[in-house]
């Protein structure tokens, strides 16, 4: 049986969403501006987008680039970050490099990348890769650095080599921190995905959004914002449920849910 409090806690996110839509609806009605459709108008435009085959292909292409970029970034960044966290030499080699890349908005590199690699999938995936890499490297690095020395010694006494310790001790011990980085990386992947399509207009969810803006179809613009936002929330919730399962051993007993999962 769910108690009243628990039920309210479950319902809270839904109420927050409804509240936001209500404020939007009221504001749009009060302003009565062509470029600011009401929430209802925007929601009504959603089925027309999702029902359109071209639009759907575009959105799925965006998702594919995002998944590929995110996947490659995670595959490269976790081993790199962990090695940096355990080896001073590796850290001092890569640190200056990352310090230079860190503050640069990855979308700002898009024009240069387009110049070299064109406006196709490769450029966009590369930008997503760059956007995701840094938080994942950073959190893997911090996680690896924080691994208890005595835990590594204990495993060394059991006969684990340095390479085995990195994979079988440092990786699982740092996993909660790594996954925190991946979660940030996932949101950044969505952001860089949309911005890359804004700059290299050719296909994708961002392309639909900005084309609609050019054409003055503001209900489509807002509907796309809702769709992209829902994608973000859905992916985050999916990731969070996987994450929670992987690191149940490290979670405190009581946790405030930070997502809609």
């Amino acid at each position: 049986m769910i108690s009243g409090h628990a039920f309210l806690a479950r319902l809270a996110p839904v109420l927050a969403c409804l509240g936001l839509l209500a404020v939007w609806q009221a504001a749009a009605l009060a302003l009565n501006n062509d470029s600011f459709p009401t929430a209802l108008e925007a929601i009504r435009a959603i089925p027309s987008i999702l029902g359109d085959k071209d639009a759907l292909i575009n959105i799925l292409a965006s998702l594919r680039r995002m998944v590929v970029g995110f996947g490659i970034a995670v595959t490269v960044s976790i081993p790199l970050g962990l090695s940096m966290g355990r080896s001073r030499a590796v850290a001092s080699f890569f640190n200056p490099l990352l310090m230079v890349i860190y503050p640069v908005p990855k979308a700002a590199l898009m024009p240069i990348i387009m110049l070299w690699l064109g406006v196709g999938d490769l450029s966009k995936t590369l930008v997503i890769f760059l956007g995701v890499s840094l938080p994942v490297i950073y959190h893997s690095f911090e996680g690896a650095k924080a691994v208890e020395e005595k835990m590594l010694w204990s495993s060394a006494a059991m006969g684990l080599s340095a390479a085995q310790r990195l994979v079988r001790i440092v990786l699982p011990a740092a996993l909660p921190e790594i996954l925190t980085g991946c979660r940030t990386g996932l949101v950044l992947a969505l952001i860089t995905m949309i911005t890359s399509e804004m700059i290299a207009r050719q296909s994708g969810a961002g392309n639909i959004l900005f084309n609609a803006l050019d054409m003055g179809e503001y209900d489509i613009v807002y509907a796309m914002v809702i769709i992209v936002g829902a994608m973000g929330i859905g992916l985050d919730a999916l990731f969070e449920s996987v994450r929670a399962r992987l690191v149940r051993w490290s979670e405190p007993q009581f946790d405030i849910p930070l997502s809609f999962s």
């Binding site: 835990m151 204990s154 006494a157 684990l160 490290s250």
Partner: protein
């Protein structure tokens, strides 16, 4: 009339008779220099030599910061000495190995593994088959008093229980020497006493060689065959005291035993004389 005794029975029967002393661990003129955060050299250990006989329970007793843990880390192969060398069975120690099993004050359990997973880790690494490793580990978990907690994660256990798991995890891969680094230092007095009793009971079954680091005089005298007293800055071994008390030892009997009391008082006095008074009574 009893049947022919098994090998372990023979061992127990013979235990009171003194074994011919063979050196298991030899620490030979070891010095250790650390660089402090202000880049000054700090001499943590100065010309320390110590021999630990096979099957002996030897404690290193000293105030905090005297380098007693460092000495244990050197024997474990976790730290390279600046000078001198450590040997096990005559062979130079160059790194950690499954012949020397550490138990740390910080427990250092693998938090992503259950109690059973932690205890099985060593045997599995040594190539023991899963079913066999599991059976052995379950028996060990029962021996340290944690039957029923096999599937718990470390975060769900109290400090005393964690240290029991750590002990079982180390015993599981059959090290010849146990290296215990203030293992009960982080526990409350009651838990500490119980773990001391249990450790002695477990140890008296197979009499592994133990190097035990502590800052508690009572703990050292209660557990050990020999107590190596260390002084601070730089860490030196001041004296090695033989603790000639009968085994098996029962805590309640020992506390009333004048010989035990005399050892404790004598050792405390020696620390007092040297101004090393930050030692626990």
């Amino acid at each position: 009339m009893k049947a022919a005794p098994s090998r372990s029975d023979v061992k127990v029967d013979l235990a009171p008779a003194p074994k011919p002393a063979t050196a298991m661990i030899e620490v030979d003129h070891v010095s250790q220099v650390f660089q402090t955060s202000t880049r000054k050299d700090h001499l943590a250990l100065s010309d320390v030599s110590l021999t630990i006989d096979d099957g002996a329970f030897v404690s290193i007793l000293g105030p905090s910061g005297c380098g007693k843990s460092t000495l244990l880390y050197i024997v474990g192969g976790f730290v390279r000495p600046s000078q001198g060398s450590a040997r096990m069975k005559g062979r130079a120690i160059t790194g950690p190995g499954p012949d020397r099993g550490p138990v740390f004050q910080e427990f250092a359990l693998f938090p992503w593994k259950s109690v059973l997973g932690n205890v099985m880790y060593g045997p599995r690494q040594q190539g023991v088959k899963y079913a066999e490793a599991e059976a052995q580990s379950r028996a060990l978990i029962e021996m340290v008093g944690l039957k029923g907690f096999e599937n718990f994660y470390p975060k769900e256990l109290s400090g005393g229980m964690k240290q029991r798991v750590a002990l079982a995890r180390t015993l599981a891969y059959h090290p010849e020497v146990l290296l215990m680094d203030e293992p009960f230092g982080a526990l409350d007095a009651h838990t500490r006493t119980r773990l001391q009793n249990d450790l002695l009971n477990i140890w008296e079954r197979d009499r592994k060689t133990v190097l035990f680091v502590t800052h508690s005089v009572e703990e050292a005298v209660f557990l050990s065959d020999k107590v190596a007293m260390m002084t601070r800055s730089p860490g030196r071994i001041r004296q090695v005291v033989d603790i000639d008390l009968p085994r098996p030892r029962r805590r309640t009997e020992l506390l009333l035993d004048p010989r035990y009391q005399k050892y404790v008082v004598d050792i405390e006095r020696m620390f007092d004389d040297s101004g090393e008074n930050e030692i626990e009574p």
